[in-house]
């Protein structure tokens, strides 16, 4: 891909990001921040690529740490978001008294 094709993608993606997150209720700020946080765990792909094609000692070390960091970001990020959003699922009401 040429540099300018990539820049075009960058600009469009920036607008998508702005549009998607507009007028969010405050209650959802923290879960959404956490979800976007998990999404930038995409950097693990970079870690996989540099490690997958690495061919010297230091690069092995750097790459492995980068992959591990990325995996923490992804797994932890999505799971914590899921736990936070658990509070929005309606809890069953145990008692059957009148309303």
């Amino acid at each position: 891909m040429t540099l300018f094709t990539e820049l075009a993608i960058l600009v469009l993606a920036a607008f998508v990001g702005f549009e998607v997150i507009s007028k969010v209720p405050t209650t959802l700020h923290t879960p959404l921040m956490s979800q976007t946080n998990a999404i930038h765990g995409i950097v693990m792909l970079g870690g996989l690529i540099v490690l997958g094609y690495a061919d010297d000692g230091l690069e092995y070390v750097i790459g492995t740490i980068a992959v591990a960091f990325g995996a923490i970001n992804i797994v932890g990020g999505f799971m914590v978001t899921d736990r936070m959003l658990g509070m929005f699922s309606k809890k069953p009401k145990p008692k059957a008294e009148d309303k």
Binding site: L3, E6, I9, L10, A13, A14, F15, G17, I21, S22, V24, P25, T26, L28, T30, P31, L32, M33, Q35, N37, A38, I39, G41, I42, V43, M44, L45, G46, G47, L48, I49, L51, G52, Y53, A54, D55, D56, E59, Y60, I62, G63, I65, A66, V67, F69, A71, I72, N73, I74, V75, G76, G77, F78, M79, V80, D82, R83, M84, M87, F88
Partner: protein
């Protein structure tokens, strides 16, 4: 050992799968903006991530499988255990930590990419080198800044603002040094100095520490959100360096949506991002000499947020006051209560002896709106229950909820019995402004961390909330 290699890097199949992945991210985020679909949205985004990771693992020429498995295994295990163990109250610092490791990963990738470029010999193309440098700087700032934010929220270091004398000058010098070193590397792209690159990583690390240290604990969520956007941008930069479209799109979306989110959070706290970053406060008003008239940070929300808080609570207590009587809001409040009861929320009304300025006044008003008598609770009866209440809604009441009556012996209302709403999980105060109540004194309740202010006329606000709950 290329056991999985089936996709050509940058080839049609790999790119098509990356497009599927980032489409799922966008759908996931969109669903994440509404409370009923947010949980599902997170799953959709996670599925997108699974597609992206699987695609990358299938790229032709990938090797070092042992190390990849170690990295994936250790990282996944740490992330899993940490997120299962963390307490709900500790979520913000957990997000800070995950954000930090993301930034750290970017900085390391940039370093590895630079070494790779040097080892190939010849000039490193600038369209690869410049994004690599950007990724290194932003990633390193984000890693260290997030770690400081984590340490502050976890009480490992003092949460109060810490600043070094001449702070701004030191930061400026560091920034100039980083830019100069980057220019040097870019100009000498035929033989860039790896030592200088490591120097950049270290200077950026210092900068990350120095920028976040002076910020108080109360502002930390906004800072984490900002660093989150930074990490997204650094991921996009790494995407340019590696020619990877998934990184570019996902990183940029996080960068821009994170920026918007940061600004919305700051607005909800009545602060500006610049104010938070550079003013160096954000805990309690410094020195403790906060006069009652000065502008203090508080959280302000709209009817929709209030509706969400209420609809997903188990128990809600309304604390009506004179403002409700003046606005004739009792019917509208009853409407909110009816909506909540339909959803299975337990509703009660806490009646202060002097609510409405006349003993029994409030009971009458509420009875007129057909509020069942058993829901009207006396102050002495409701106070012990407030710690178990999810949300207390203060409507047009002020002095009768002022914690100063209990905590400040010098207050004009010292010793007055109050409804201890600050004991509840969350407090929503519906009021037209922050102005003092009948007693003419500021109400500390408005500035507590679990209090949200909804500035509106009581009747209109209640009607809006009822309408919002109905739509949930």
């Amino acid at each position: 050992m290329t056991l999985l290699a089936v996709l050509k890097p940058g080839g049609d199949a790999a790119t098509a799968l990356y497009i599927v992945a980032f489409s799922l991210f966008i759908i996931g985020l969109k669903k994440g903006t509404h409370p009923t679909s947010a949980k599902q949205g997170n799953m959709v985004a996670a599925a997108g991530m699974a597609v992206a990771v699987a695609t990358t693992l299938l790229l032709d020429g990938m090797g070092n499988w042992g190390l990849i498995i170690i990295g994936l295994g250790v990282g996944s295990a740490v992330g899993f255990v940490a997120s299962v163990r963390v307490q709900m109250t500790e979520m913000p610092q957990m997000v800070a930590l995950y954000n930090g490791v993301g930034g750290g990963a970017v900085a390391l990738i940039a370093w590895s990419e630079l070494r790779h470029g040097i080892s190939l010999g010849g000039d490193i193309p600038l369209e690869e080198l410049i994004p690599t440098l950007l990724a290194a700087v932003i990633g390193s700032v984000s890693f260290w800044g997030s770690n400081v934010a984590f340490a502050k929220l976890q009480d490992l270091i003092p949460t109060r603002p810490l600043s070094v004398p001449g702070q701004q000058v030191v930061n400026a010098v560091l920034l100039i040094g980083i830019v100069a070193a980057c220019v040097n590397i870019a100009v000498n792209n035929g033989d860039p100095s790896e030592a200088l690159f490591i120097g950049i990583l270290i200077a950026a690390a210092l900068l990350g520490n120095l920028v976040v240290l002076p910020i108080g604990g109360a502002d930390m969520p906004v800072v984490i959100s900002l660093l989150n956007a930074f990490t997204g941008l650094s991921a996009a930069a790494a995407g340019f360096a590696l020619d990877n479209v998934a990184l570019i799109v996902a990183g940029t979306i996080v960068g821009s949506s994170g920026t918007i989110l940061t600004m919305e959070m700051a607005t909800a706290m009545n602060r500006s991002v610049a104010n938070i970053l550079f003013a160096g406060f954000g805990g309690a008003p410094a020195g403790g000499g906060g006069g009652p008239t000065e502008e203090r940070p508080h959280t302000s929300i709209g009817a929709q947020d209030a509706a969400i808080k209420l609809a997903y609570a188990d128990t809600v207590v309304f604390v009506p006051g004179y403002g409700l009587a003046v606005a004739q809001a009792q019917h509208a409040v009853k409407e909110v209560a009816d909506q909540l009861e339909k959803r299975g929320v337990t509703v009660g009304y806490a009646i202060h002896p002097v609510a409405g300025r006349m003993p029994g006044h409030m009971n009458v008003l509420l009875a007129e709106a057909d509020v069942p008598y058993e829901q009207l609770r006396e102050m002495e009866e409701i106070n012990p229950e407030l710690p178990r209440t999810d949300v207390a809604v203060v409507i047009g009441a002020n002095d009768v909820t002022n914690p100063a009556a209990k905590n400040d012996p010098d207050s004009p209302i010292a010793g007055m019995p109050i409804i201890e709403v600050s004991e509840a999980g969350e407090v929503i105060v519906i009021k037209r402004s922050l102005s003092p109540g009948f007693a003419g004194i500021d109400n500390d309740l408005f500035y507590e961390s679990n209090t949200s202010m909804l500035f509106d006329d009581a009747k209109k606000a209640a009607a809006d909330i009822a309408a919002e709950i109905e739509q949930l």
